[in-house]
Assembly symmetry: C2
Homo-oligomer: 352 residues x 2
């Protein structure tokens, strides 16, 4: 029988476990990781038009949602599996867990499998900071963070690494969350104020990050709380029926989004008419449209997270693995000596 020699190790897919991801992030350093990741995210926003884009494929249940987020730039394909289960926290589980895969479009073979719970937290924060680079007031140095859960510290670190934010004003309805956030960020060169109300948190902040969970149509910010010139980084309004901002804030803000067809379903703007004008972040990054144009402008980044950002994160991790050993090799792809001889491989395994 003709048995051509396949490329060596084609059955193997590199896998980055949670432990390896933590080692990788700590090896690089959280701030450097966020800064480098932000470059990949910006690069891919610049290449926006060549991506194969589709709204995420969601499977809803009464307890939560499981989503697949695929995209491709024509050479590389990536997707993320992610769940969203707000009730999980009470049961000692993560609201969001995720893993992702990067593949070679030419062969269809997976080239990377990685945990993405930690990586999603990092990419979400890096994306927020990239948007703020174009939208926040000049020389902003103070950020309010309303909602001090799992994503809050990552947001703080990204805004420090990428925008130089030093002063944080933290608020959560659960004070223990604020304590946890402040504790984790101690020693990271922040000037931290623990606030007792969201109004208090807004005092003197040029940027406000809203990142609450577990609320349906909540009003974390009311219109009177948001002064002129503020940049709102709205993270927590990220699925149908879940928003954080009063509609009046939206009506007087310039709204910037990732992928309008998805944001109109999942973001803060689900409260508005389908034809309410929004601006696309990628066009700001490429310079096709303006970001912030005036000191008194209220800007809103209505972030829901998009597949290209995960794609950027997967690309970055894959590139970093070349230099490190923070992965293991998974025997994931059947690799018979002769491609048509899958059954023969099974037979030979039996006699072996």
């Amino acid at each position: 029988m003709n048995t051509p020699t396949p490329p060596a190790g084609i059955n193997i897919v590199p896998f980055v476990s949670v432990d390896h991801m933590m080692k990788l992030v700590n090896h690089i350093g959280v701030e450097t990781f966020l800064r480098e990741l932000a470059v990949y995210i910006e690069d891919d926003f610049r290449r926006w038009e060549l991506f194969d884009k589709t709204p995420r494929v969601a499977s809803h249940s009464k307890d939560g949602v499981i989503e697949l987020m695929p995209t491709s730039d024509g050479e590389t394909y990536g997707f993320k599996y992610v769940n969203g289960h707000p009730k999980n926290t009470k049961e000692g589980l993560q609201t969001v867990t995720a893993f992702g895969v990067l593949s070679d479009v030419y062969t269809g073979y997976p080239a990377l499998l990685t945990e993405m719970t930690i990586l999603t937290a990092l990419r979400t924060a890096a994306t927020s900071a990239v948007a703020a680079k174009y939208l926040a007031p000049e020389e902003a140095d103070t950020m309010a963070i309303i909602g001090n859960g799992a994503q809050s510290e990552f947001q703080a670190m990204a805004f420090k690494a990428i925008l130089g934010i030093k002063k944080l004003r933290l608020y959560d309805i659960d004070q223990s969350a604020t304590e946890k956030c402040a504790f984790n960020l101690s020693g990271k060169s922040f000037d931290i104020t623990k606030c007792t109300t969201s109004q208090d948190a807004m005092e003197g902040a040029q940027i406000v990050t809203t990142v609450t969970a577990d609320k349906q149509y909540a009003t974390i910010l009311t219109d009177n709380m948001v002064g002129a010139g503020i940049h709102i980084n709205a993270i927590g309004g990220d699925c149908p029926g879940k928003t954080e901002l009063h509609k009046d804030i939206l009506l007087r803000s310039d709204i910037f989004v990732e992928y309008p067809p998805q944001t109109r379903i999942e973001g803060e703007i689900q409260q508005l008419n389908d034809d309410h004008p929004v601006k696309e972040l990628w066009q700001v990054i490429t310079g096709q449209i303006d970001g912030r144009t005036a000191a008194t402008q209220t800007t809103l980044f209505d972030s829901v997270g998009f597949a290209t950002e995960d794609f950027s994160a997967l690309r970055y991790v894959k590139d970093k693995l070349v230099e490190t050993e923070f992965y293991e090799e998974l025997d994931m792809l059947a690799d018979p000596d002769e491609p048509r001889d899958l059954f023969g491989m099974l037979l030979r395994a039996e006699s072996a």
Copy 2:
């Protein structure tokens, strides 16, 4: 800080490698595996109406396609990643590689990750045999297999295990493929005839399985080759632009399909009008409609593969792992002591 104790081992996802899948299949025995898997497939076809069904999410390129196939029965969610790259064979790679995930809908947490290249070959064959149970002529004992590639032996084994097929008539345009198939099936109690034309292969066969690849709108079977009473198990017409049967055969056959919205795009019936009548396999299995009703009837199972079949296969493998040790444990899900303390987990890993 309040740190509730999460369930033990929630970071772990069982992973079935290619090696473990081969060990599992050989431990159970190929025929027993196919028979037991067929029961799961039939059970899920009986529960058809409660599944969350969607056409596969495909990313096409000039070299092939990468697809995600999700489904859910409300309690369990499953998806398969699968590529289709006909040109891969020439490069020593598989045309189709796959892996799959099963998750708990209640928590959104993945509960199984497994190779599915081998498993897809098994579920495709088991599904064909399930369909043939309802559609093939009574007391059929001879099957022609046209196309003797990677799927051919699995089809033969499934038809033996589930329908008692003993006589095989093999044909491929590449004679070495036929030699490989016959060699692999020697010692499996078949009466095998290696044929030199597809006409020859059809002699005396009550069932014909067409399972060729790498052809665009090929005509593997012409109208005059198919006598009355034959059951056609058409596997190879499975993506847009790829068919195996002459249209005239379709016009005089009773056509049975898995999920009409998908089959009309991908199956043999892409050659027909969108309103051409087809019958759904699940309704045959539940007894709502008839399968074969007459000895002279030409029946066609226009198989393209559907997400529920992968779901059945994932369920079966997961159940089988309980009894065996053919898996490893992947540290895939971030599991901080306190769910909101993802960043703290990263910090503690650094100091550890």
